[in-house]
Symmetry: C2
Subunit: 203 residues, 2 copies
Amino acid sequence: MRNGRKGPTGRPRGFDTDEALERAMLVFWEHGYEGAGLSTLTRAMGISTTSMYAAFGNKEELFRKVLERYTEGPSAYLARALEEPTAREVAGAILAGTVRTTTRPAHPAGCLGVQGALAVSDSGQAVRDLLAAWRNDGCTRVRERFQRAVEEGDLPPETDPGLLARYVTTLAFGIAVQAASGVDREELRAMADAALGNWPIRP
Amino acid sequence: MRNGRKGPTGRPRGFDTDEALERAMLVFWEHGYEGAGLSTLTRAMGISTTSMYAAFGNKEELFRKVLERYTEGPSAYLARALEEPTAREVAGAILAGTVRTTTRPAHPAGCLGVQGALAVSDSGQAVRDLLAAWRNDGCTRVRERFQRAVEEGDLPPETDPGLLARYVTTLAFGIAVQAASGVDREELRAMADAALGNWPIRP
DNA sequence: CGATTTCCGTATCGATCGATGCAGAAGTCG
DNA sequence: CGACTTCTGCATCGATCGATACGGAAATCG
């Protein structure tokens, strides 16, 4: 559709796609996939429904692009945390990043990947499955990092990397729920620090 | 309205209120407050929308009654756990009960109190706040139980009961999210056991 | 400029949302 | 039985849902 080799270029788009996605991300983050109506979304994006459909396809594809943006933006702390030198620092960075992102002032409380579509109607199950896969993928990446830590001798050889990854992600998802409930940032940070006081947990 | 002192009794209700509430609970549990439409609810309850409004008021009041039923039914493990003799056993019972309830076969995965209304549209914020208060109330009750444990010498005197309660409930909410993502029951059970391997956590 | 392409504002689609009005059936009283 | 009360099935309400059709405005080409 774009850039066929023949003919004039046509009128360029009248709005910034990146900024529109950012606005849409904040709406989905606050209200969830199904709680965010087209009217609310387009009003926040500053465009009409026609422009939204022309630029992003439909509501579900808009959400998919928003989730990509979220992964590389507010949730980028995960990828950075996986590069910490020790498993203990990886876990600490994940929890600290989760607390920071889920309780940032002037941003919606909680985590888009958790509250975006936990329980939905029949028409939203595709997005529900997408987010479930997103969460499970996060846990898998943490497990692989802990597996490497075992191989490197950073973690004791009898450590179960899957168990440990499930523990850290469970804390992270729980923090997201607490944040969505209005719990204070400092309290969550203190709790996360204390949770890693005895590290690593063992089966 | 019911049982005014004058006049005949009138035609009795043609369905079992308790069973209708049970069916509604399962629908809200699976689809959330806003994801459960009146047509889905009434079909599952086996009654018409008119009967639902006559018996329960409206959708929001129906949900409130469903939440009460959930608290005294699937979530009753919390009240029982608080009566365990030691703080350590309280925490263990809470996590074991959470795993059991959020992964019970033939029941919806996850926790109604978590996925019932985490992120909603403007018209659902009353229910959202209701569930946030429900979760915070659970944390408060755990904190008060741990406070008692400190006074009884069951927990070390320097223990922070609020921190410990936040830790246990964060794990519980995280378990609910994992369960909603399809994580296996046995894996969650093993993780919960390991999480309490070093008890209590300290600030 | 004129031709062509694309974007965008308005108006609207059918479906579903939660919620009711109405009338008659069904049951409980004296 | 007959008076009275309540429940229930059908139809429908206005609002909103996600999604489009259409046509004019705007921008880029030769």
